[in-house]
Assembly symmetry: none
Homo-oligomer: 408 residues x 2
């Protein structure tokens, strides 16, 4: 089956290539942390592109940027987007494709002089990654009412700079009245960040929902001692306790339906010849089944408590974040599926393992996502890659889906 190409590949890859320069790090990666100088530079470029495409640009109080193309009718818009921030040593595609392909949809509508019934808005959400300001998705969570403005503004990075301070500093603190209003549909195109589409040789993932996620923060407090004169049996080594916990989390809690990840760790005083007195680490637990996830969190808490009791060290385990499995909008899923079929791409239904802005958007309106294959399943690393041909497929599916939704 021959596929139709609506978009302008040359323009799309020129934009992508420009984005790949802003915050570039060795190995073709990007370091474009939310509200950093690099983020500001990318935002300025994106704003200019939107204006060039005839969009009306506005910024809300969380720094979320919207570009609006009016429709023939005064109806709630179709919204497309994702985020332009990255991990500290992230890739060129995560988030970026969702925003740049949304812009390409707009430009393609312009190219073909298409007037849609509904307005189309494209959006760049602030701090999706949560790599600088925790938790992730502060921008979309803010407009969805998951986080209030005071909470978002007070989030601090490792150097003690607040979200509010940095938002103001880079000149992207906009108005509350600019927040996204009622919308007809939100479609987010994103890389899969996993190996499934590649493994099954599918071009498009039609995303039905997002796994539930629980984050725990664990602080083990033992006693800092000089490594030399302190015999093993008199130690209260916080890091050895953490090692036993981590090893058991992997062996006893994780399984084929529940993933467990310890992503962050730090020890204090962190010198070669000192028994660590305090260790901090995070635990990320995910499942497509909420009850399995909740069970795993309880088991993890018990395990942590038991190891620390046995070793006579103190421990504090706090829930940093909890989110249930979510189901996307059936109508949008059908629209994507039809576009895929019309275009002749191979596809499969899939559940996202990662959180996305679409997760919070789903709280306030009809939402779904489109996944593109990740080479070797990699993301959040400089070697993150989605092939040009898959990007073109994605842009076309997003375009056709938008046209269909905008006529509903």
């Amino acid at each position: 089956m021959k596929t139709l190409n609506h978009i302008n590949e040359e323009r799309l890859f020129r934009n992508l290539s420009k984005s790949s320069e802003i915050g570039a790090i060795p190995g073709k990666g990007l370091r474009r942390l939310a509200l950093s100088d690099e983020d500001k530079e990318m935002r300025d470029i994106f704003k200019a592109w939107c204006e060039k495409a005839g969009l009306t640009v506005r910024v809300d109080d969380f720094g979320n940027m919207y570009g609006r193309r009016e429709g023939k009718k005064a109806l709630p818009p179709v919204v497309l987007g994702s985020h332009l921030d990255t991990q500290p040593a992230g890739g060129r595609f995560d988030g970026v494709l969702g925003v740049l392909l949304a812009l390409e949809v707009i430009s393609t509508l312009n190219d073909h002089n298409i007037e849609t019934d509904r307005p189309v808005e494209i959006v760049n959400f602030t701090n999706e990654e949560g790599a600088r300001f925790e938790p992730p998705m502060l921008g979309s969570g803010g407009i969805a009412g998951v986080f209030d403005q005071e909470y978002v503004y007070s989030r601090k990075d490792r150097d003690g700079h607040s979200f509010q301070e940095e938002l103001q500093r880079i000149g992207y603190k906009g108005e509350k009245e600019n927040r996204l209003g009622d919308f007809h549909s939100y479609v987010e195109l994103h890389i899969e960040q996993g190996p499934v589409l590649e493994d099954e040789n599918k071009q498009i993932g039609i995303v039905e929902g997002i796994q539930g996620i629980s984050w725990l923060e664990v602080t083990v407090t033992g006693e800092a001692d000089h490594a030399g004169p302190t015999p093993m049996h008199l130690r209260k080594d916080a890091l050895m306790a953490a090692a036993e916990i981590m090893h058991n989390l992997e062996k006893k809690i994780a399984n084929t339906e529940v993933t467990v990840t310890v992503g962050k760790i730090s020890a204090s005083p962190d010198t070669v010849n000192c028994v660590p007195g305090e260790v901090y680490f995070t635990v990320d637990i995910r499942s497509t089944d909420d009850s399995l996830r909740e069970e795993a969190v309880e088991e993890a808490r018990t395990l942590i408590r038991e190891v620390c009791q046995e070793r006579q060290v103190d421990v504090e385990t706090t829930a940093l974040w909890n989110t249930e499995k979510i189901d996307f909008d059936k109508g949008i899923i059908d629209a994507i599926e039809e576009s895929v079929e019309d275009s002749g791409y191979s596809s499969r239904k899939i559940v996202s393992g990662a959180g996305h802005d679409a997760k919070y958007m789903n709280n306030i309106g009809p939402t779904a996502m489109i996944f593109l294959p990740s080479v070797n399943g990699k993301s959040h690393v400089p070697s993150e890659l989605t092939l040009d041909e898959d990007i073109i497929s994605g842009a076309n599916v997003l375009y056709q889906t938008t046209v269909a939704l905008a006529e509903e």
Copy 2:
């Protein structure tokens, strides 16, 4: 058994209390970094005390300060001492006791009008801690020929100030010919910095030597993946590999004769929702038995290799530092032991887990050490504490040992 008290407690604690003011920080700690203004202030006070006690004071080219009390005969001296510098947030006793109790020995000899056969010298070594200028023990290492003058002078602190610059600035750059000459014996009294004496309720530690130390640096390289979409069986998680290694180092390599400490650890990319692709950690292995230590290092290397092979992650293990066990002088150890027995204090033989100036002094002449209990085994923290009664015991043992050695 009743113990004899020779020393003047009031004088001793007045001096200690004065020292505790110089560089005082909250929590009763001291910040008296080598060659800082605080170090200069303490040196000036110490010099005045020495002169008041009738000592001839000289300073060598490393800033080491000596106070000499002549003997009846032209023999090599008995030398007592330690260091007056501290960690950035250190305690009032580490090093300080060795110098102030040496001074108290001199004053007690004066009180009792005792003329010894041998001269007695007391010494304050420069930069024992290595907290400002790395490596530690530059002053004693300098006179022992471990470090040459050019190397010591070129050491820089974090602000780029050199050892030489700072030595000159505070006015303590003396002459090379003032370095310590041949000596009969060097005795260093020090806090244990560990929990053993307190745990076994002993007043005095008779130090037989210093443990051998091996440091390894380990870098595990797996694959960084997004925590969500990557199933457990497809991961190459560097931190889970490190956790298994650390747990097994503790369970399989450490024992009552070999300590194993993982003091430093860092994971990359170090974000909550990312499987760590790289983890760096250090391993500190110590024993009083060199062959046990070397065996443990080999076993640790094998264990690390096997865990990483099994998990299909890469690993690089490098030797960062290796130092053999040091045996102190049998004659001085016997002299200390006799003094302890005569005085009626409880004691045990002990091997130091930490390095001290005595380590380098042992290279150039007969050396041994006396340990006093550390409350809760703590040192290098403001809460570092050695009880008054233990300080008095230590001063008496040091006095009697000195009297005995000075008549040999």
